[in-house]
């Protein structure tokens, strides 16, 4: 047994520049224990709901995180719409689906790049982000911002995408997808990458359920659960199946995300083909009452918004359970017994989004 050292991992320099801190207890290079601490930049956004008009809160919800921004806004709006008993027009639902999937692609490409960086593959990192940039451009063209869409509102969406633009975007996406396909073999088949991911950070199916893992972390361990199957937005009218891998290691979680990007391209294509004409928003009257758990699938996994209205302009309670928060306990378990160089790799496979967690 070697001497035990505690090596700090974060909050200043974790794999992705976000403030999560892990105290790694090492024996030589073996991690015997990992203790996470968060709360460095907690913003108390949940409390903001109690003093802000429920229409204004969309802007707050979108800014919970810069990467999964759209789905935060969407989840909040869906929650309020349910409390108000409002049905969103079909075109708005499709537009939400398209934007949500665009944001999933850009988030996954961002993750793939950071993941490559975690095992020291700089060129792969750069190339993933080069492809991602094209998606971000499409987002800016359609929504006005690179990552903050500002497009959702209670009752629908704030801006339309014309059918001509949608057709052109479909063509652009095909070109982007072929660029993306060039990168796939490096994640899936490259010997040096596989050596760093296969068999690293094991999480069994039973552990994943018991520890409350969500999203690709859960699906990488063989549980076919994707909240899009709940049928919000336009998902129930489109053809798709949750991506599942059974190995439960870092490689499986990578494969889940790699395949999900392809699936998102496909979902957008279907949505562009099927999108109906019509209004994009309905008028909102009244105040939210009752309580509702709005559950959506973010790029990082299931996100839960608990909304409780008391028939005033402000919500009584707005609680956000972000995917990274749920994936932290599995992370601690995965880290036990790994080697130091595997720490960044394992931390990244849950796709940590600390700004979400520090809502």
């Amino acid at each position: 047994m070697g001497t035990r050292t505690i090596i700090p991992f974060g909050p200043q320099h974790p794999v992705l520049p976000e403030p999560i801190h892990l105290d790694l207890v090492l024996e030589d290079e073996k991690v015997v224990d990992a203790l996470p601490s968060i709360g460095y930049v907690h913003r108390g956004l949940e409390r903001l709901a109690e003093v802000k008009d429920y229409n204004e809160l969309v802007y707050v919800a979108e800014r919970i995180c810069g990467i999964c921004s759209f789905i935060h806004g969407q989840g909040y709006c869906q929650g309020v719409e349910t409390l108000l008993n409002v049905e969103v027009p079909p075109r708005a639902k499709y537009l939400r689906t398209i934007w949500a999937e665009l944001s999933r692609i850009h988030s996954h490409l961002l993750w793939l790049g950071l993941f490559a960086d975690s095992f020291g593959f700089e060129s792969l990192f750069m190339h993933c982000w080069r492809v991602r940039e094209k998606i971000v451009d499409i987002i800016e063209e359609t929504a006005g911002g690179r990552v903050i869409f500002g497009s959702c509102k209670v009752g629908g969406v704030r801006r339309d995408i014309s059918n001509d633009t949608l057709k052109r975007i479909r063509g652009e996406l095909a070109a982007i997808e072929s660029q993306y396909n060039e990168l796939k073999p490096t994640f899936l088949k490259d010997a040096s990458v596989n050596r760093r991911t296969v068999g690293v950070g094991m999480l069994s199916r039973e552990q994943a359920i018991a520890l409350g893992a969500v999203g690709p972390t859960l699906r990488g361990s063989g549980v076919a659960q994707d909240m899009r199957k709940l049928g919000y937005a336009a998902y129930k009218e489109l053809q798709w199946e949750p991506v599942v891998e059974t190995a439960g290691d870092c490689y499986a979680r990578t494969v889940v995300r790699v395949r999900e990007v392809t699936m998102s391209f496909d979902i957008i294509r279907q949505a562009i083909e099927k999108i109906p004409a019509g209004p994009i928003a309905v008028k909102i009257t009244g105040n939210p009452t009752g309580e509702f758990f709005s559950r959506l699938e973010q790029p990082r996994g299931e996100v839960v918004y608990y909304l409780k209205g008391n028939n005033t302009k402000n919500l009584e309670r707005f609680r956000i359970r972000t995917p990274t928060f749920a994936n932290s306990p599995p992370l601690v378990i995965m880290l036990k017994g790994c080697e130091l160089p595997d720490v960044p790799v394992i931390v990244l496979t849950i796709d940590p989004c600390i700004s979400c967690t520090e809502r």
């Binding site: 050292t5 505690i6 090596i7 700090p8 991992f9 320099h13 974790p14 794999v15 992705l16 520049p17 090492l26 030589d28 290079e29 490559a116 960086d117 975690s118 095992f119 020291g120 593959f121 700089e122 060129s123 792969l124 750069m126 190339h127 080069r130 490259d190 040096s192 990458v193 050596r195 760093r196 080697e339 130091l340 160089p341 720490v343 960044p344």
Partner: protein, 291 residues
């Protein structure tokens, strides 16, 4: 016996190395950064950027955790320079390799002296890396001795036939360990490339300002010395071909750097010993048997 002309020539080469190696090494580093950037679809910095960086580091205030740190770093630089002088003035190849090891040991001592967990792990990894590449370096020296019947660089360099013809497998093995020596992926273990990976630059974490500048300069000296080894394999083709071959070897290293993920130390040691045992030893046995 050493006559005056010979001595003068040695002094010239040794002095020339001391003066020109940092220039060439810095330019090489600048070229490396541009080529790496282009491989990543970026434009990259100007070719003189490494010099700007070092001058900037030299201007900064030095912060040290332990007074010995600077002493060790200066020793590291001096020993790398000494090694280079030994090599370029046509000295003993074996002595060169051992002097280079001593230089490496000073670097490790410097990293250990800071007591930081990151540099301690970096230093441990550096030692493991030295373990990994040493056998192959020795095989290079032995192989050259078997071919040329001398350990003296001045004899090896004037040998009539290209050494790479006799030692092709040893050359491949040498290129393999060059990746470790150049601190490039997949073997950049002791100083991770980016500041935000698990050991935060590892061995050089606690060096800053002028001390870090010395580290960079030593690295330039070291790179030129290592390319000198490559030169030896091609010396008989004439200086132009040999220099071009060395540069091509460097480009191959940059390519490998950009095409691989970083691997772990266990794999590094296993792989480099396997390469040394197969490529190196087999090549040497063949040479020995044919003699």
């Amino acid at each position: 016996m050493m006559d005056t002309k010979n001595l003068l020539e040695q002094l010239l080469w040794g002095g020339g190395y001391l003066l020109l190696a940092p220039l060439a090494g810095g330019l090489l580093a600048g070229f490396d950064r541009i080529l790496t950037a282009r491989m990543q679809s970026r434009k990259g910095p100007p070719v003189l950027q490494p010099f700007y960086d070092v001058f900037k580091l030299l201007e900064k205030r030095g912060t040290v955790v332990n007074g010995f740190q600077n002493f060790y770093m200066i020793c590291f630089l001096i020993f790398v320079m000494l090694t280079g002088v030994l090599f370029f003035s046509g000295g003993d190849l074996l002595l060169t390799i051992f002097a280079l090891t001593v230089a490496g040991v000073f670097l490790v001592l410097g990293a250990y002296s800071t007591n930081s967990p990151y540099s301690t792990i970096g230093a441990e990894r550096e030692l493991l890396q030295m373990m990994a590449y040493e056998p192959m370096l020795l095989i290079v020296a032995i192989g050259m001795y078997l071919v040329t019947c001398s350990f003296q660089v001045r004899d090896i360099i004037t040998f009539s036939a290209p050494i790479v013809y006799s030692l092709p497998a040893v050359f491949i093995g040498f290129i393999f360990i060059l990746t470790i020596k150049f601190r490039k992926s997949p073997f950049d273990l002791s100083s991770s490339h980016h500041g935000h990976q698990e050991i935060v630059k590892g061995i050089s974490t606690e060096f800053s300002g002028p001390t870090l500048a010395l580290f960079e300069i030593a690295h330039w000296y070291e790179n030129i010395l290592l390319l000198g080894f490559v030169y030896l394999f091609f010396a008989a083709f004439g200086p132009v071909v040999a220099v071009v071959s060395s540069i091509v070897a460097y480009i191959i290293e940059i390519f490998i750097d950009n095409a691989y993920a970083r691997l772990t130390w266990r794999f590094t040691v296993r792989a480099s010993w396997t390469v040394a045992a197969t490529f190196g030893v087999v090549n040497i046995l063949v040479i020995a048997l044919l003699k």
